[in-house]
């Protein structure tokens, strides 16, 4: 299956036009996790607080993975 990973945060949006071939949706979830966690570091370093990866196949959105930064002070 071919999966597409679009990334959105408060400043940038990147639409994936190339896509990646992976065996199943579970692999796409892992891939989305790798993408999101890696980019989250850059986003949070730049004072952003939220990042979403929208995972699509050729026709439909399959799921959206969102990472938010929450800082709690006592």
């Amino acid at each position: 299956m071919r999966f597409y990973f679009d990334v959105h945060d408060e400043i940038y949006s990147a639409v994936d036009n190339d896509g990646t071939t992976l065996p199943q949706v579970e692999d796409a979830r892992k891939q989305a996790n790798h993408i999101a966690t890696a980019i989250a570091r850059d986003v949070f370093d730049a004072n952003g607080s939220k990042l979403s990866v929208t995972v699509r196949d050729q026709n439909n959105i399959l799921f959206v993975m969102t990472i938010s930064l929450v800082i709690e002070e006592p």
């Binding site: 400043i11 990147a14 994936d16 891939q31 850059d42 370093d45």
Partner: protein, 243 residues
């Protein structure tokens, strides 16, 4: 393509940082070199191969890479005209990574026996190639720092400014622009990110007004700012003349 044109990028590069006399340059010019044109992505030598010649990049670009356990490819280095990306195969017989063409390229294959003979006869050439190998290692050290410590946009900025600086040294830039046939996915493989992460890094450098990437071409808009973002200091390239 005549002989002078074939070895010119190599001599030009070696002259930047080493002292070769006329006889040394003549000896390099007399090496038996077999030209070959390769297409984009075409393998040149691969992991496990035991090549009997080294390849000189005459025109175009070549990359070194390794496939890791997950199946992903890490690009280890980019090579430009005048580089000998698999010089190590002269004394390390079995290839431990892959060498392939980035875009269309012209390569010159030099038999190991001729190179070994040249090294025995011309101490200045030996010194130049040794120095070249050491600089190669210095570039790898900088890549470790780049991939291990910097955020994606800095990594990309660093990669771009490194390629630009090396190309400028052999006169292959036009102002602040240079031809470089890399796609977003390829840049991603070099800076150790996903393709969309590289896309985001490209967007951020573009929106900050420091860099434009067009198809097959890189244009630096603000060199100073790009160097700042890249945390770039050209010392490790050792482009100064050797003592």
């Amino acid at each position: 393509m005549n002989r002078d044109e074939i070895v010119e990028p190599l001599l030009r590069r070696l002259r930047v940082s080493t002292t070769l006399n006329e006889e040394d340059e003549q000896a390099i010019g007399n090496l038996p070199i077999t030209l070959k044109r390769v297409g984009a992505g075409e393998p040149i030598v691969s992991y496990g191969d035991r090549p009997s010649s080294c390849c000189l990049v005459v025109d175009g670009f070549v990359l070194r890479s390794k496939i890791v356990g997950s199946g992903n490819r890490q690009i280890l280095a980019f090579h430009q005209p005048g580089d000998i990306p698999d010089l190590q195969s002269l004394y390390l017989s079995e290839m431990d990574h892959d060498v392939s063409a980035l875009g269309d390229a012209v390569l010159g294959f030099i038999p190991h026996s001729s190179l070994d003979d040249l090294i025995r006869r011309r101490p200045n050439v030996t010194k130049a190639l040794w120095r070249d190998t050491l600089t190669d290692a210095a570039i790898f050290r900088e890549w470790i720092c780049n991939l291990g410590q910097r955020p994606a946009s800095s990594r990309l900025a660093h990669l771009i400014i490194e390629i630009y600086t090396r190309l400028k040294a052999i006169g292959r830039t036009e102002g602040l622009s240079f031809a470089f046939p890399a796609t977003q996915a390829l840049f991603a493989e070099a800076i150790g990110t996903s393709s969309v992460h590289a896309n985001r890094a490209i967007q951020s450098l573009r929106s900050e007004g420091v860099l434009e990437l067009e198809r097959g071409k890189v244009r630096i808009v603000d060199e100073r700012q790009l160097k700042t973002i890249a945390d770039f200091d050209a010392l490790y390239l050792h482009l100064d003349p050797a003592p």
